[in-house]
Subunit: 304 residues, 4 copies
C-alpha cells in the first residue's frame, strides 16, 4: 500500500474542503490555534513513517490521553478496574451528569470525563509520583523524551473546569473517588495538557497495532489481551456520542480530543494520527474524521 | 487454523460449565425449549463448514433477523435511512421508551426494538409482498429454501407484545412510522419468528465476511461499502446494553437474539453461529458469549 | 363580595387583552372552535350563580373530567387506589413516557394521561355499565340531565390517539392495566368528550367547595375527607407542568382541559369555571389563568 | 378551637407510636440527637401560643431556612428571581442532578438544594454583610435575638458536602451562579445550621399566616402578595418528592428539614412547628407529618 500517496490525496482534498466546524474556545489557549492547520501521520508496524501537512507541529492532545491512562490503570488493577467504571457506550454527551446519576456514580466507560476522572483517581493510588511517572510512561511509548505537559493549558482548564468539579464531587459523594477531588483534577488537567505532534502521537499509539509491544522490540509494554480490549473500548466509546458514526464511517478503533486531534489504529498494521482544530457539533475534528474515512475507503482496509 | 478442534474444545468446556442464566419465558413457545441445548457452527469464506453439538437443530432467531432487514432497507434507501434511525449505541435497555422520547422518536440504532420497527416500516414501503419477499431474500443468502416463519411463535409474540405496541404507537405519534402500527408489528413478529439452525445461520451471515458476495460466487447481494457499515453497527450496537462488553470480550461484530442464538463475523475470514438458550441478565446467551470469547482467545484472531 | 361586578371587570380586561395562545388543533373538532370565545361562571355554596360572556355555550371539558373519574375510583377503592397511581406532581409534560418508565408503570398522579388511564381502568372494573353509570354520576353532580358525550369528538380522539395507545400498552406490559387497552381507551375518550358550559361546569365542581355534599342538600356524594384530598391533588397536580405556576398565581385548587376550560374551587366558598380556547405553551388556557389570577387578586381571597 | 387540648391528644398518640424512621446521620452533629425527642408548638394570629413536649429545645432547622432566604431574595429581585429558579414541583429527589441538566441549570424550585443555592447566590449579591444581615432578618421575624448559627454544624456540613459542591459547580458551569461556589456554600451551610426550638420556629413563620405583617403590629415585613405566593410554593414544593403526599394528608403549606423539624401555616389563622428527628424514606420527619395530619383532621381545618 502506498500510504504516502494516499496521504497526499487526502491532504489535497482536506485543504480544499470548506468546513463549518469551530475551534474549541472554552479556554484561551485552545481558542488561539490557527483553525486551518492540518497534519496527518501514519506509522506502520515496522516503523515506516508517512506524513503530510502540519504533522510536525505540536498540539494539545486533550482526551486522547485517556487511552494511555486507561492502559496503566488496567495493567495494575486488572478486572477490578471494571468495578469502578463500565465499558459500555454512553447514550449521552461526554460530560453528562444524568447518566452518572442513573448508574449510581459508576461511569459508563473510561473515555467520558467521569470515567477518565475515576481512572485518574486510580493512577494517584498506584503511582508513586503520579505526574512524573505518567510522563515517563508516555515518553517510553513515544521513544521521545521531549514530550511534556503544558502547564499554562492545565492551569487554564482548572480555572474553567466547573463541570468537571461537579462530576468528581458527585462521584466522591457516591463513594467512587478515593483521593481529594482537587488532587485528582490537578493530575487530570495536566495529563490532558500533554502536547504532541501527529508523528509523535502516531508513534505513541503504535503499541495498540503491535499487540502491546514496542515496535522493533520484544518489549511488551501492555499485554496482548489488554490491547485487544482497549482497542475494543476505543471502537465502541472513543468518540463520545459519535462512536457509532465513527465506527460506521471509518471502521477503526480510535480516540479524539477537543484540541482537534484524532488517533486511530489498524491492529497488526498501522496507527495514524490526524490534526485539524475545527470541531463538529459532537466535539470531534470534522476534517479529521473525513480524512480517516478517506483513508479506509481509499485503502479498502478497515477492521470491518 | 484447525477450527474443528477449537469447536470441540469449546463444546467440552461449555457442556461442563454451570450457568445461572434463564431461558426467555415471555411466550410459551420460547419457554419450552430444553435449556441445555448447545450448538455451534463456523463457516469460512471458502464455505468449509465446522460444527459441534446441536448445530443442526432449528431455533427461533428472533432479534438476529434485524441485521437482515437492515440490509434490505439500507440497500433501497441508502443514506436516507439514517434520517429515521441513528447508528449510535444506546445507553439503555433494548426496549426503553425514555431514550426514544429524548430523541423525538428517532431510535438510537436499528437493533433496538424501536429502530427495528422503523426498519420494518421501511420494508413495507419498499417490498411489494413484504412477507414473501423478505423470506426470499433470507433463502437466497442461506441458499436453503426450507427456511420459514414459525406462525405460532409470531402469533404468540403478537399476543404478549404490549411493549412493542407502545413503542410503535409512540413513534407513529411523532411521525416516524408511515404504515399502520398493526401491519408493521405483524411483519416484525413474523421476521423474528424465522427458524434456523446454527449451520444455516452461519451460512446466512457469511455474506458479511465476504464483502457482500455470496460464497464461491461473484454475485454481490450487498455492496462492500454497506457490509463494512453494517459490521460496524453490529460491533457497536449488536448486544443491547452489553455491546461494549461483547466488543471487549469477543472483539467481533455480532448480533444476539432472545432465542439464545448469537452470530458473529470475522471480516474476510469466517462467520460463526452459536446457540444456547440460557440468557444472562442483559438478555444475551450466557454460554454463547463464553463460547465466542474462547474462540477469539484460543485462535488469537479478532478484529482488534 | 360582589362577584358579578368582579366578573364584569375581568371580562372587560380579557376581551381587550391580546393573546398569543393557540387553539388545540390535534383533532378537527377542537380546531374549529372560535378562538375568541370567553365565558366565566361562579357559583357560591348557597347556589348563587354569577356569569359573564359565553358562559352558556358548551365546550369539550377534556382533562377536567379526570377529577370526576378520580372521585368515583377513590370512593370505591379507598387507599388501595394509591397502589396503582401516586399523588406526586410530575416534573415532565402530561404525556411523558420517561417518568412512567422510571416509576415502573405507576403514574405520578391521576391527572397526567397515564394516571387518568389507570383510573379509567378502575372504573371498568367497578362500574356495571361504565359509560352509562359515569354519565349518571356527572348528571347527579350537575343536577342537569342534558349533559352528554360528544361521540364525534370521542371518535376523532381515538383516531389520533397514538400517544395514549403507547401509554396504556406500556402500562399493560408492566401489569398496571387489568382490562383490554382498546376498551379502556374507548371509555377514556368518551369521558374526555363530555360537553358542558361554564355554568354547568361550575355547578359540577361545587361539591368540592361544599365538603362533598350537593348544594342545599344533606346528600353526601363524596366524603369530606376525600374532598380535602382531591382538592389537594388538584392544587399540586392540576395543571400539568404548570401546577406550581398556577398555585403561585391563582392560589386555588383547579383543573384545566385542552378545550380551553379551567375550573377552580375555593373550599367552603365557591367554584368557578372559565372558558377561553387559546392555550399557552404548557397547554392551559392563557386567558383562563389570567382571569382566575384577577379573581383571587381582586377579591383578596385564595387558600393561601 | 381548643388547640392545647388538640396538641395534648396528638402528643399522647405520637409518644406511643412505633416508628421505623431513622435520624439523619450524614454528619455527626445530627446523628447524635436523641431520636425520641418530640415537640410541637402552635401560635395563632393574635400570638396565643400552645405547646407540648420538647417544644423549648433547640434543633437544627436545616432546609426550613430556605423559605426565609427565598423571602429576602423575592423582596429584592421581584419577578426577576424567576428567571433563575422556577416554581414547579420537582419529580425527583431534592439533590438530583438529572433534572438540573434537563432544565439547563435552572432549578425547578427554590426548595430543592440547587434552587436554594441559587437563592443564596442572590443573597450574596444583595446583602452588604450576608451572614449578619440574614441573621438580623430571622431575629426580626422571631422577635428573639438569641437565634444564632451553629458553626460546628455548618463546618461539618461543608466537610461532607460533595453533592452540593457538585450541584453548585454544575450551575456555575451553566452560568446560573454569580459568586464563587465556595463563598455561596459557606453562607448556605451557615443558614441551614441555624438553631431554633418549636416555639421560635412557629413564631418565625407566623408572618406567613398574617399576610406578611409581624403579629400585633402594622409592620409589613413581606408584601401580602409575596406571602400568598410563597405559601403556594410551600404547598407545591415544600416536601421534596413528598409534596403531593403532604398536601394530600395535611392540606397546609409547609416546609421540612432533615433535622426533623416541620413548620406549616394556616393562612389567616396560625402557624405550627413540630420536631421529631426520625425521618421517613423521603427524608421528612415521620411523626411530624402524622402529627400535622392529626391536627388538620381533628380540627377539621385545612386550606382544602
Amino acid at each position: 500500500m502506498d500510504f504516502q500517496n494516499l496521504l497526499n490525496i487526502i491532504y489535497k482534498d482536506c485543504k480544499s474542503a470548506s468546513t463549518e466546524g469551530k475551534v474549541a474556545n472554552y479556554i484561551p489557549e485552545l481558542a488561539k490555534i490557527n483553525p486551518n492547520k492540518f497534519g496527518m501521520a501514519l506509522i506502520t508496524k515496522d516503523e515506516s513513517l508517512y506524513s503530510v501537512g502540519d504533522s510536525a507541529e505540536a498540539f494539545s492532545i486533550q482526551s486522547i490521553v485517556k487511552v494511555i491512562s486507561l492502559c496503566i490503570a488496567k495493567e495494575y488493577l486488572g478486572k477490578d478496574l471494571w468495578k469502578r467504571v463500565s465499558v459500555e457506550p454512553s447514550g449521552t454527551p461526554f460530560n453528562s451528569l444524568t447518566e452518572l446519576e442513573r448508574e449510581n456514580g459508576i461511569p459508563r466507560n473510561p473515555f467520558i470525563n467521569a470515567g477518565a476522572l475515576v481512572v485518574t483517581d486510580v493512577l494517584i493510588d498506584i503511582l508513586e509520583h503520579p505526574k512524573q511517572d505518567f510522563l515517563k510512561f508516555v515518553r517510553r511509548l513515544t521513544k521521545d523524551n521531549s514530550i511534556n505537559y503544558n502547564a499554562e493549558v492545565a492551569k487554564s482548564e482548572q480555572k474553567h473546569g466547573y463541570r468537571n468539579t461537579a462530576l468528581i464531587n458527585y462521584m466522591k459523594a457516591l463513594g467512587n473517588i478515593n483521593n481529594s477531588p482537587v488532587e485528582v483534577l490537578d493530575l487530570y488537567y495536566h495529563m490532558c495538557a500533554i502536547e504532541m505532534n501527529c508523528e509523535q502521537l502516531a508513534k505513541t499509539f503504535l503499541v495498540f497495532a503491535n499487540q502491546g509491544r514496542l515496535a522493533n522490540s520484544d518489549e511488551e509494554v501492555i499485554s496482548a489481551k489488554s490491547v485487544k480490549r482497549i482497542n475494543a473500548i476505543m471502537q465502541t466509546c472513543g468518540f463520545y456520542d459519535e462512536a457509532g458514526e465513527f465506527a460506521y464511517k471509518v471502521g477503526l478503533p480510535g480516540k479524539s480530543g477537543v484540541g482537534g486531534g484524532i488517533v486511530a489504529v489498524h491492529p497488526n498494521a498501522y496507527s495514524v494520527a490526524v490534526w485539524s482544530p475545527k470541531l463538529n457539533q459532537k466535539g470531534n475534528s470534522q476534517l479529521g474524521i473525513s480524512a480517516l474515512e478517506s483513508l479506509t475507503t481509499l485503502s479498502g482496509l478497515s477492521v470491518f
